[in-house]
Symmetry: C2
Subunit: 557 residues, 2 copies
């Protein structure tokens, strides 16, 4: 027998693992977190402090907003705690790729524990669900969803000095009956894995020997409800999966396959430029994807989807698998929180331009769970000088409408100058500003917004002390002096819509529109570069390589 | 916008995908399977024939035995149909690696549909569970487990000319109460995935803030019941996973981790040479793995495992996760089948040396679901000349006992020659043969045996016509002439036992024993070379590379 100890090869590999350049780059100098003090108040309530007297920042959620805040917060200034039911961050834009096995589920997630370790244990993570926020006592109530193999119910309470609410949203079913029971959603990695399994099951089921043509057709009818970017990308991925891989593996049933996209509006991809919408609709038509616009789904049973349309009335369509992707709704914990802070009559949790929750101190909300309610520009009286800084929507409005300055505002919708005079009549200016307000859109519920908000807020926290002495924000409307920070300002870097067949549509800033194969390669590079770590970047790229070489896997796993 | 059509890059990639050498090697010339005839007898019973008049071979199961038969059967001679609840083959020896994320689940499975496609659609596959064999009517009853979103119950009947039963075995709980409810098994890919999730949950659970030391210890107590190769390899993998990855990610709770292996016998790995057993036990002791030999588990509750031992009596040990790996039992479908063919009083389905089920025509059973009952050598009267060919156990016995020829048989257990005379007394010869019979072991339930049986049987089927005219088997005992085929003969190529820390024990033929790092590399090469396809081979090797570079993933996915 050979002797024990590490072999040469093993030692070399260990050395490589320990010292790659990119790892060094990410490793932050270890910060001693002092001795933890656990003070048990009653059976479940615990105060956990690191004993350094630092303010305690608690983050709920490890999605784009939470993870981005975490990456940017200076843990030497704060005692940072994270609570989330998932111990990983998911690169959600690649979820549609996971549904068809183009990318592995594990390749698009980054364990939070890896981040903790890279930051030298500078923050703490609890895998638990926060089910109640108590802003009056500055506490959150958490519950571990790790089953019952534990004495007690796994509940605990965490107190905070600052709370960062980044719990995201849930799928919005608009209370359509049968959706929760019969449809898949596409918000989490687990959803994507379930969809993949379900697609394979549909194909295997349709291949069974004792089925009529009708039953085969039914089993192979894939329905996507919602023509937004997620729904459209999933439809395109599914079509590619079928076209490039499954058609060869299931030759007997391929003629029965049908993919339908149901959209309540006139068009799909309405948030994109019309040229992209048109291209996508044409491409789907060429690909044989059945596009049902102006159809509203009213009921989903285990056998059929019922929808209505002005022309056809109510029709029921049998289906094999359905994916519901029509938008997002508010989570119960947020609804409960809104009641407590006097926002019960709102649909979405409101924050100000600094991401602070209205009606509540020291609680910040970002990402899909909240929305910034910008004050109406109309309220302006004397702060015209601060207008750009304080009201970014004015600049946005001018830009989207291809106006150069305030002067353009004074043109009416047909482009005629309302008043030739260069002098500004305050009444007319008010009218013009009212037009701005009427077109102010809330920020889209995208990864880009959430990620920028997380980074912005972490940056504010990091410079809080400095900015208190040297405020850099606009003038306060009520009160004297300036705000500490500049308000959050979203910078749109563009958006992709992969349409299948290695064609992607891109709408980049500056009204730059492109559709085609080259954009697909731009998509590959952007999505690879935006990965959370070098690890996931390598995994995703090698998954793409595997798919190019071997195709997608068809096992019903 | 760019024009449609395939881009250069895409076309090049498509070309690569279509013509790799190894693909060409595997693609068999397409065999026309004729027009399928579905004849509906009643609501569910169907006869499916390819209309060419070829005999219909139905295989139940896509494990080692079934897949090996499939790979080797000549589909131009038979109309081949496969029924299995899983549409993929699993490379089971790597299951323990999947439990800790060393290898991805999808990397060790090969979809059956890929095989169908590579063979030019030469056989048919149904994803369904066979729940009843009806040998009298030559039919099997199947049920699709694909949910209820289908009109009818998804049941169908397949008739056969030859039936190949390769359904494998199920875990044997010895009717210990609470095992099914509270323990994990390690037979399927899904089991391995569940174990992985469960390990991560245990660590997250132990990291929650409101736990006592005792609860942390309990949650991080991993128990493996059964000291066979699977249990030992899993314990070693888990120790590596903890040691190399998790200890760094969960520094606060690492001191509470405890891995226990409970074995009813005196030693672990009893099927290996004593030197390997000794090395494994010493290594586990050094690694801090708690080895509890001579302990019999009598009950498993959701909180504790109760076991007995002559010295300690009954003790209950709290645990976080338990894996049950004590051996295999007979599946219900096989027990029902045994009743029908007069084997109700046996524990395992019996076949003869040609893998034909005793008491049943045209049904063959192989792999873990069956065992070959070799006739007692004692029954020999006049066929001494055929003894080696007909009774391979004699040769095996001589070999394992390091005897050179029959003459050695006549020594007693102390090595003294029983009788000096070179002439063989028939009574003494009978005594000697009785010693052979007493030591005949049934073949181990391993992938190697199942795979060889599948290849052997397919080979017999391929040469059936030729061998009917030119029999090559031994003389028939009852009846005249020779058997058509040589009996199945197992060739043992050795066995590995990975012991963690990049050390593997190997026991190869010729009594060659080796333990250490070099054997680990031998293990890597053998397991890579034994992969089912080039695809899985590349995937497994790249998974190993990913693990070396980035470590194992710790997300609770």
């Amino acid at each position: 027998m050979s002797s024990g100890g590490l072999s040469l090869v093993r030692r070399a590999v260990e050395a490589v693992r320990r010292t790659p350049l990119w790892r060094k780059r990410l490793v932050v100098v270890t910060v001693g977190v002092g001795t933890l003090t656990y003070a048990c108040q009653d059976n479940q309530v615990l105060q956990i402090n690191d004993g350094t007297g630092k303010k305690k920042v608690v983050i709920i959620g490890t999605g784009w907003a939470g993870a981005s805040f975490l990456r940017n917060i200076d843990t030497s200034l704060y005692d940072v705690h994270v609570v989330s039911p998932r111990n990983y961050f998911t690169f959600t834009p690649l979820l549609p790729s996971v549904t068809c096995g183009t990318v592995e589920a594990r390749s698009i997630v980054e364990p939070i524990r890896n981040m903790v370790r890279k930051r030298g244990g500078a923050f703490r993570f609890w895998e638990a669900e926060c089910y109640k926020i108590d802003p009056n006592n500055k506490k959150i109530h958490c519950r571990s969803d790790n089953g019952t193999n534990i004495d007690g119910n796994g509940e605990f309470v965490v107190d905070y000095d600052y709370l960062i609410v980044a719990v995201g949203a849930r799928p919005n079913t608009f209370n359509t009956p049968g959706v929760v029971e019969n449809c898949h959603f596409l918000k989490e990695v687990e959803d994507a894995q379930k969809i993949r399994k379900s697609v394979m099951k549909c194909f295997e089921k349709a291949s069974l020997p004792n089925l009529t043509e009708e039953e085969k057709k039914k089993n192979l009818h894939f329905v996507i409800i919602g023509g937004g970017p997620t729904g459209v990308e999933f439809a395109a991925e599914l079509h590619d999966f079928f076209n490039e891989d499954l058609a060869k593996l299931y030759p007997d049933v391929k003629k029965y396959v049908n993919i339908s996209v149901i959209e309540a509006g006139d068009h799909i991809l309405t948030m994109f430029d019309k040229r992209i919408t048109q291209f996508a609709e044409d491409k789907f038509k060429r690909d044989g994807i059945d596009l049902k616009t102006n159809f509203k789904v009213v009921k989903v049973s285990d056998k059929a989807i019922t929808m209505t349309n002005a022309a056809t009335g109510e029709i029921a369509v049998p289906y094999g698998m359905a994916v519901w992707s029509t938008g997002i709704g508010t989570r119960p914990i947020i609804m409960d929180f809104m009641k407590q802070v006097g926002q019960a009559n709102r649909r979405v949790l409101a924050t100000d331009e600094w991401l602070r929750v209205h009606g509540c101190d020291d609680v910040y909300a970002l990402g899909d769970c909240a929305t910034i309610t910008q004050r109406k520009v109309m309220k302006i009286k004397n702060v015209l000088g601060d207008i750009y800084g304080r009201y970014p929507q004015v600049e946005l409005y001018l830009k989207t409408n291809q106006m150069k300055d305030f002067h353009d505002l004074l043109k009416d919708s047909d482009g005629n100058i309302i008043k030739e005079s260069k002098e500004l009549d305050i009444e007319e200016f008010k009218k013009a500003l009212a037009r701005v307000d009427s077109q102010v859109k809330i920020l889209p519920a995208t990864a880009q917004v959430a990620s920028q908000q997380g980074a912005y807020l972490a940056n504010c926290f990091n410079r809080m002390k400095y900015c208190e002495e040297n405020p850099e924000g606009p003038l306060r409307i009520r009160g004297t002096g300036h705000h500490r920070f500049k308000p959050f300002r979203y910078r749109h870097f563009g958006q992709f819509a992969p349409l299948g067949g290695e064609q992607t549509a891109a709408q980049l800033p500056g009204d730059w529109i492109h559709v085609g194969h080259s954009t697909q390669w731009l998509w590959y590079s952007v999505y690879a570069s935006k990965q959370f770590s070098w690890r996931t970047r390598m995994l995703v790229v090698s998954d793409w390589a595997r798919r190019f070489i071997f195709g997608r896997d068809s096992s019903s796993l």
